[in-house]
Subunit: 129 residues, 2 copies
DNA sequence: TTGATTGCAAAGACTTTGCAACCGT
DNA sequence: ACGGTTGCAAAGTCTTTGCAATCAA
């Protein structure tokens, strides 16, 4: 009878990074942040850890880029993002309206079981305008 | 004084495909569809043509996958997508509510110039449920 | 003719896989 | 000790680039 996972240094540090960071991150960014703090983890390990955290539902993948995968901690409060097309900074935002009604309507109309949605706003941040 | 572009067979066929197809497509899908019709275009040409059509604003890139790029014709009517996580089929949908007010509010609150947004619904289509 | 366009090969960016060594529990 | 975890190298997938040949206007 053994636990199905272990708390290794790599895992602990990546978990902490996601806990403290409120920003979505890519595998490369995680690698860089850890390296800055003198924590050297192989990129394969990062990818594998992302898979693990994804399966455990501790993080989720965003749909903001076709070139690389961005992840953020799975949080209670639902939110969206403001993404600067020029510098790439990402800011969290929340909606006043609620899309739940639209989802219910679409499910009925289209016979589709909606599990989640992704709403992202793109443009130019105050510094890049 | 010369035109800045030519109407070659490859371009003509890709343009037609986007005109007739209402579905978002990847470079690989375009290649396959053309090949089915005995039109053989190199994948490099497809990628270059996608760049060209993107610059000309004839197509736009979607934010539905981190693994590969999806494109669809730039249309008048604003719409979103219903994406099946299992089989990958994509269906167009339109919202009843309007996100313009939210965008204006966010622009004022966050000092951000929003140029566009992406709203995609994920789940299971009727066949995959 | 001329410059846009093409195919091919190679390179590049990002992610995944195989495998032996390692280490938490 | 067991089995999850790691690093390294290699492979895989998608996209871009260099270059000489080709073709539309």
């Amino acid at each position: 009878m053994n636990k199905d996972y272990r708390l290794t240094p790599a895992r602990k540090n990546i978990l902490e990074l996601f806990s403290y960071s409120c920003k979505p991150m890519t595998a490369q960014q995680i690698l860089s942040y850890l390296a800055k703090n003198k924590i050297f983890v192989n990129k394969t390990t990062i990818y594998r850890e992302l898979d693990f955290l994804l399966k455990k539902d501790f993080i989720k993948e965003l749909h903001i880029s076709s070139g690389r995968r961005y992840y953020e901690r799975t949080e209670q409060k639902h939110h969206h993002h403001l993404i600067c097309k020029k510098c790439g900074t990402i800011e969290d935002v929340t909606l006043i309206q609620n899309l739940a009604k639209e989802e219910k309507r679409l499910e009925l109309e289209k016979d589709f079981k909606i599990t989640d949605h992704s709403l992202e706003f793109f443009g130019l941040c105050v510094n890049c305008q």
